[in-house]
């Protein structure tokens, strides 16, 4: 057997792997667990951060809200000073 054949056989061996039959079940269990926890703590800070980081619209909404609140505050302060 030539070394080229050995090299190719080695590569083929490296491709042959068995994934345990319970693998996808374990992943799905973790996903369902994650969903249950998400429902439980929908309004905690961590889930809010995850929601914000995953959705572009949510991020844009947060920035816009921050901007509007900031603007209102500036207007309020200026009004107070002028009065």
């Amino acid at each position: 057997m030539k070394t080229e054949e050995i090299y190719n056989t080695w590569k083929e061996q490296k491709k042959q792997i068995e994934v345990s039959k319970s693998f996808s079940g374990k992943v799905m269990n973790r996903i369902y667990q994650y969903e249950r926890n998400k429902c439980k703590s929908l309004f905690n800070a961590q889930s809010l951060i995850e929601l914000m980081s995953a959705h572009t619209l949510a991020k844009a909404g947060l920035i816009l809200t921050g901007g509007v609140v900031g603007f209102i505050r500036v207007v309020f302060v200026v009004t107070m000073v002028l009065e």
Binding site: M1, I6, S24, V27, I31
Partner: protein, 180 residues
Amino acid sequence: MTHETEIIRQVLEGDIESFRLLLARYEKPVVRMIRNITYDKESCEDIAQDVFLAAYKKLASFDRARSSFSTWLFTIARNKSINALKKKRPLSMSELPEKSNPHNPSDDMAKREFYDQLDKTLEALPSRQRRAFVLAEFEKLSYAEIAQIEGVRLGTIKSRINRAKKKLRTALEEFGGDVV
């Protein structure tokens, strides 16, 4: 892949069970990639679980205009593998098995020695070279896809793969062969 896009849409609309279809399609390549990068037979499936859970959590941020789903998923797997490797002591070249005299790899024992030598050499490669080699040679990804996963230029990937092949060739030559 339109079908894949449809599955992702279903998952995002709340059909969690559809994620099983993505799992069925990618569990083997992802586990194999992690195993060949981390060389950790015991925990490669645990790391792969983390990869799929992370993919599920971030699915809404997947943008098919930027990359294919497989490239996106392999990028998560690559990052998790790197994190796992940081916790593991790297194997240095000096830990490679004793160099034996050149011999004819005709019997099973000799072949086993060749495979072991190649395994050890692959494991001792710098992580970047090993990742590029594994993605190209075992997962059959294009150089462009690997460059996207690694976040480097195409030429860098070509160079890493060539260096990895050269080291494997050298390892084989030391065992009496010369062809990779």
